[in-house]
């Protein structure tokens, strides 16, 4: 860091050093991703000799074949259904609970909040076997809800925390005045808190969506039939079937991460805010 001292040198070397480092790191991050996307356009033979470069002939077969298969779309649809269930339920349940923690004074409030925050301390995997038994006994094994409900439960701690921190910024005077005028807590929540909370709803919603979209462990344990598999499970199956047809696998990987990348660049502000600020406040 300290080796280059800009102020005392005739030539300013610092920009070269800064951009050198940044471009090198960007290369390390991007080259595997770009090679993956390009790999889908190559033949297996070409992948063996030249995995880096541009394809000699742009071969659209792998991509075409996958896009034409029902399997790819079924996987995406499954992921989408599970993610939407998780997001809707998380937003409803977590915002209500967080409202109580932020705005209503009651005995045991602190204790209950730390009860939820306990969930932030350990991985979901610790209780995965009893969870499997529970879902089985409830008859939810191999259903979308069987995956969505535990996902909501495991995400509650973080979501409640994010919501509560936001709701706390709504001035108390507003609530007091509304209560004075005979407005109920529930009506206040519905017509004042929620409309003011669009940014945090978006942030929590997107973070929950991405987490569910990428989740592997829970669906792996809780789903049996291939027709219900979300894409992370489907892609592992696919890889098992096409072991060294790397061009097919790479095309498949590219097509499955494409939605994530598009959503990321479209909603980067919310994603970065959610994934990091939740952390900071924790």
């Amino acid at each position: 860091m300290s080796s280059v001292n800009t102020s005392r040198r005739p030539f300013n070397l610092r920009p070269i050093y800064v951009y050198g480092v940044l471009i090198l790191m960007a290369g390390i991050v991007l080259i595997p991703l770009v090679a993956t996307a390009l790999g889908g356009f190559k033949s297996v033979g070409e992948l063996r000799t030249d995995p880096f470069g541009l394809p000699r002939h742009w071969n659209f077969d792998a991509y075409g074949q996958i896009l034409a298969s029902g399997r790819y779309w079924q996987m995406q649809l499954n992921s989408l259904i599970i993610a939407c269930m998780t997001v809707v339920l998380t937003l409803a349940v977590a915002s209500m609970a967080a409202f109580v923690f932020a705005q209503v004074k009651f005995f045991g409030s602190e204790f209950l909040l730390s009860y939820f925050l306990l969930g932030l301390m350990f991985p979901a995997a610790t209780a995965i076997l009893p969870l499997f038994i529970k879902i089985r006994d409830l008859g939810l094994l191999d259903t979308y809800w069987g995956v969505a409900l535990p996902q909501v439960a495991f995400g509650l701690g973080m979501s409640i925390l994010l919501f509560r921190n936001f709701f706390k910024q709504i001035p108390e005077e507003l609530l007091d005045a509304a209560l004075m005028d005979g407005c109920s807590y529930i009506r206040f929540f519905w017509s004042i808190t929620l409309p003011l909370s669009r940014p945090i709803l978006a942030t929590v919603g997107i973070v929950t969506f991405v987490t569910s979209w990428n989740n592997y462990l829970l669906p792996l344990i809780l789903l049996n039939s291939e027709s219900k598999y979300p894409w992370p499970l489907g892609i592992m199956l696919y890889q098992g079937e096409y072991t060294s047809a790397w061009n097919m696998i790479l095309a498949f990987v590219t097509l499955t991460i494409l939605p994530t990348i598009i959503v990321f660049f479209a909603a980067q502000k919310h994603i970065v805010a959610g994934l990091t600020s939740g952390a900071v406040k924790g």
Binding site: M1, S2, V4, V18, V21, L22, V29, I31, P32, L33, A35, T36, P51, F52, A92, M96, V104, F116, G119, M121, F122, A125, T126, A127, I128, L129, P130, L131, I133, K134, P150, V152, F154, F166, I170, P171, E173, D176, A177, S184, L196, P199, I200, N214, Y216, L217, I221, P232, I235, S244, I249, I257, T260, F265, Q268, I271, V272, T276, V280, K281
Partner: protein
């Protein structure tokens, strides 16, 4: 935080301030409706799918049970003793520790270094931040798959690098002694951007005037970094260390597409171990013992760490 901007200014001024004193006290009697309607859904879901399973894991871990019928074969501490004796479990623990050490020694300093470069107003900073954050957003499964290709001895980028330099093909992920290091590279690749973002947020909240004053006093960049940046960034650093440790304990998805814990258990982590030895063999009792061990490690660490470093938060 930035969210506060979203609350309209007029509301912030608190134009209604004067009347607030007794409003809430007067309404305490009606609190219960909102409590009864708003809390139970979250409480129920959380208790049913998070808390009870963990308590049950504690109970099941004393039984030898395959998940059917009732657990009635009580074995006491045998599952735990079995666990401690197993070589694969010790490898998993060692690997988790190794991941934590590399995170602390390589990943976090790298993230901080890049953050100091990108927290300044330079052209393209936002684009670079997004690029570095991108791997964090990708699903672990996809990232693992991509790196399985990168490391593939016949097709991969590493193979063609090796050929280009005149070496034999290397099969990194099939090599018992190298596979874990190959995976750690991927871990750094995947998560450094997340920590970098936290550091950037931390750096941007440091008052510029400290640096201006230091510059006037003739401080060097190194001195400013040690005397101003590091101390003021301490809360963020404390936090990123916490996330590195807890994150390492959860590592599973990334490893599955690359090695599934192999070759010969050399890349097991706590969770892949739990998966290979508890879940796939439906040994509920033994798997629960692994889960409980993992839980205890995480919770003891979390409480101890919070007590030691995060007292003010």
């Amino acid at each position: 935080m930035a969210f506060s901007d979203a609350v309209p200014k007029t509301i912030k001024q608190g134009t209604l301030g004067g009347r607030s004193l007794s409003a809430r006290q007067g309404r305490i009697g009606s609190n219960w409706t909102v409590l009864v309607l708003f809390l139970p859904p979250a409480l129920l879901l959380f208790t049913l799918f998070v808390v009870i399973p963990i308590l049950q894991a504690g109970w099941y871990s004393f039984f030898d049970w395959n998940g059917y019928g009732r657990p009635d074969h009580f074995v006491g501490m045998r599952n735990y003793l079995l666990l401690l004796k197993q070589h694969a479990f010790r490898t998993a623990l060692t690997n988790n520790v190794l991941i934590i050490v590399v995170s602390l020694v390589v990943q976090l300093p790298l993230a901080l270094w890049l953050a100091t470069l990108l927290a300044q107003r330079i052209r393209g900073a936002v684009a670079f931040r997004m690029i570095f954050f991108l791997p964090y957003v990708l699903a672990e499964i996809a990232a693992g798959m991509i790196w399985r290709f990168v490391y593939d001895g016949d097709y991969g980028l590493v193979a063609s690098l090796a050929h280009g330099l005149g070496f034999q093909s290397v099969y990194l992920l099939a090599d018992r002694n190298l596979a874990m290091y190959a995976i750690i590279v991927v871990i750094v690749w995947k998560y450094f951007g997340f920590h970098m973002m936290l550091y950037i947020a931390g750096l941007q909240s440091i008052d510029r005037s400290y640096y201006e004053a230091a510059e006037i006093d003739g401080a060097t960049r190194g001195q400013m970094f040690r005397r101003i940046t590091l101390p003021l960034l301490k809360p963020t650093i404390v936090l990123t260390v916490f996330f590195s440790v807890i994150g390492s304990m959860q590592l599973f998805d990334l490893i599955m597409p690359m090695t599934r814990g192999g070759p010969s258990d050399s890349t097991q982590t706590m969770v892949t171990y739990l998966y290979s030895y508890g879940i796939t063999r439906m040994r509920i009792g033994f798997g629960s013992a692994v889960g409980v061990t993992l839980f205890l490690i995480c919770v003891i660490f979390a409480f101890g760490y919070k007590k030691a470093f995060m007292r003010n938060e």
